[in-house]
């Protein structure tokens, strides 16, 4: 990734003069990936592991995720931690829509990724039916190491910019069309009954 790579490789010796020039896109991508704040979307047991990752032992702020912003306005990564019930689905979509661009989603745990062991009427079988998911973290609940691995994968995706091309293609939606007039009709039609 240009000049920054030289510094990474051979330290300050790699710099030929005392300032760094780089393409603005590299700087932006580097800034976005190195300081992305998570939106605390803790639902169930995975939320406890997410708090454990954020706490003193596993210390998520080493990776730039210093603090979990409660309001979606100040968050970049939405970590869906836990099982999403049918009643929670519109709320999840609303919070995702209210997040500022650019935004990413990590689906933490098998319940968020695919409904997990609860293959029944109450749980949305996979959160990617509601919001576009970028990284899936396996495990029930994923240990903090798995979550940090998922976050690092997402940082790498942001850094090499692959994610933004895909995002531009389907304008950031999950092919989910939000219809307000449907609220009055039948219940949430997610997954087959």
């Amino acid at each position: 990734m240009g000049v920054v790579q030289n510094i990474v490789d051979d330290g300050l010796g790699g710099m030929d003069h005392n300032f760094v020039t780089a393409r603005i896109e590299d700087l932006v991508k580097w800034a976005r990936s190195r300081s992305s704040w998570g939106a605390s979307f803790g639902l169930a047991c995975c939320a406890i592991e997410m708090m454990g990752t954020g706490a003193s032992h596993y210390d998520l702020s080493r990776f730039g995720m210093e603090v979990f912003r409660a309001s979606p306005r100040q968050a970049d990564i939405m970590i869906v931690a836990g099982r999403v019930s049918q009643k929670m689905a519109p709320v999840l979509r609303q919070v995702y829509d209210q997040m500022m661009e650019p935004k990413w989603v990590i689906s933490m745990g098998v319940c968020a990724s695919s409904g997990g062991m609860f293959n029944n009427y109450a749980i949305v079988q996979g959160v990617d039916q509601i919001v576009p998911v970028d990284v899936y973290a396996p495990g029930c609940p994923p240990t903090p190491e798995t979550l940090i691995h998922a976050i690092e994968t997402l940082h790498q995706l942001i850094e090499d910019g692959e994610i933004m091309h895909r995002r531009a293609a389907n304008n950031g939606g999950a092919g989910v069309e939000l219809s307000s007039e449907l609220a009055a009709q039948t219940s949430v039609t997610i997954g087959t009954k």
């Binding site: 979307f41 706490a55 003193s56 519109p90 709320v91 979509r93 109450a122 749980i123 039609t189």
Partner: protein, 442 residues
């Protein structure tokens, strides 16, 4: 392309304006416990003269909120900063666990039940396993070592759950560093659980008939290492929180509930004990070997959030005392009952005896059959009395598996405690009730 309705309104379940409510419902939302009929008239008078409709504001302390401990949605009617009415709306984490419980066999039931109260998973498994054993009629002859191991694990689980309460209670009231300290202790306990059961949470380790495996070698000094490090740190937290006038000012006199109201609402655990009623199932209706244990039941006097904080704080010390006694007389022997109809045979015997192989195969594929009957067993979880009601129809799946969750009932005391307090006190009340939404919504 799936279409989802953008509507998140829940109609009748929401907080309606005062005119649409029946008198009884208005009194309930205002937080009066109807059983005390003589105070009802006084309260009714006070309610009427309150702020007219247009001065109050109905706001959402919604499912996605940093201080609602999960996906609890509270609708508050505020006049300025004072909370007049409150209605908890739940169901945002409803996982249909009781329906799933009917589709799983008794052997697999533990995995479903352990995800209800995800702060004390071992207590859920314990109550489910004890209920199944009572149905099978083998609850008398579980080997000694299994009983003592179950007590050890459920006490350590109580300590890790109360440590998390200290962490979140501190963070909710602004002492964010308490979050880091509380988690530091909890990580030690979770690492011990990972070594014993293989997982940090959702262990499925306590199963009908005993335990899944024996304690690993060197478990005794792991437990001693946890217990030695804790008292000095608890002193630190005492200075950081109990000794601090700001902390006491924020919690004392907030969320008061009397003994009659707690009993009328069915609240159990630290909420009931904070009103002075010394009711702890480990002592009053002992199960496992708690009657041989020497420990104090911690009781409060004022019934407010500060009492509940110090009750849970001191219950960690009591649990440490119990774990020391368990360490002294942990017997050796079998970690599960050798009844071939219920538990799989030891691994070694499967190679040499055909019959053991058949039993192993039958138990793991079809599950063991439980005689017809219905039973209700209750134990003391960190949040109160957790009960498991199982109806069995003789097959290998429970016909009806209902878990009485303490947080489900404790949440109903919130409207009563929040009445008249500020919004900041509402946060203190939620964190003093310490609900876990996994077991509330089941």
């Amino acid at each position: 392309m799936t279409i989802i309705s953008a509507g998140t309104a829940e109609g009748g379940q929401e907080l309606l304006s005062r005119s649409e409510l029946t008198a009884k419902e208005l009194l309930r939302e205002v937080g009066s416990v109807l059983r005390l009929s003589e105070s009802e008239a006084a309260l009714l008078a006070e309610v009427e003269t309150e702020a007219p409709e247009d001065q109050t504001m109905i706001i959402n302390m919604g499912p996605q909120h940093p201080s609602t401990h999960g996906v609890l949605r509270l609708m508050l009617e505020l006049q300025g900063e004072t909370v007049l009415r409150c209605k908890p709306i739940i169901g945002y984490l409803h996982t249909g666990m009781e329906k799933t419980g009917e589709a799983l066999t008794y052997m697999q039931g533990g995995t479903n039940v352990t995800r209800m109260d995800y702060l004390s998973p071992l207590n859920n498994e314990l109550v489910f396993s004890m209920a199944v054993e009572k149905l099978l009629g083998i609850d008398g002859d579980i080997p000694e070592r299994a009983v003592w191991m179950r007590m050890l694990l459920s006490e350590l689980n109580r300590m890790s759950s109360h440590l998390l309460f200290l962490a979140t209670n501190g963070m909710d009231l602004g002492a964010v560093s308490m979050m880091l300290y509380g988690w530091r202790e909890r990580e030690d306990v979770l690492r011990f659980f990972q070594k014993v059961t293989g997982l940090r949470m959702n262990h499925n380790f306590i199963r009908p008939g005993g335990l899944a495996a024996d304690l690993p070698a060197g478990w005794r000094d792991d437990v001693l290492a946890i217990l030695e490090g804790l008292p000095s740190r608890l002193e630190e937290y005492d200075i950081l929180m109990t000794g601090q006038p700001i902390w006491r000012e924020r919690l004392q006199g907030v969320g008061v509930i009397t003994a009659q109201e707690a009993i009328a609402l069915g609240a159990t655990g630290p909420i009931l004990r904070s009103t002075g009623v010394a009711w702890d199932l480990r002592r009053d209706m002992p199960y496992l070997h708690y009657d041989k244990m020497e420990f104090d039941v911690i009781v409060g006097q004022y019934g407010d959030a500060y009492d509940r904080y110090s009750i849970r704080f001191n219950e960690i010390r009591e649990s440490m005392r119990i774990v020391y006694q368990i360490l002294e007389n942990m017997p050796s022997g079998d970690f599960r009952i050798q009844n071939k109809k219920v538990t799989p045979p030891p691994r070694a015997r499967i190679d040499e005896s055909m019959e053991a192989l058949i039993h192993h195969f039958k138990i793991f594929t079809e599950g063991f059959k439980v005689p017809v009957g219905e039973v209700y067993v209750a134990i003391e979880s960190p949040r109160g009395e957790i009960g498991c009601y199982i109806v069995s129809d003789g097959s290998s799946n429970p016909y009806r598996m209902h878990v009485r969750a303490p947080s489900f009932v404790n949440i109903q005391t919130m409207p009563h405690m929040m009445r008249g307090g500020l919004v900041a006190d509402a946060v203190a009340v939620i964190s003093s009730v310490d609900p876990v939404l996994g077991e509330v919504d089941r």
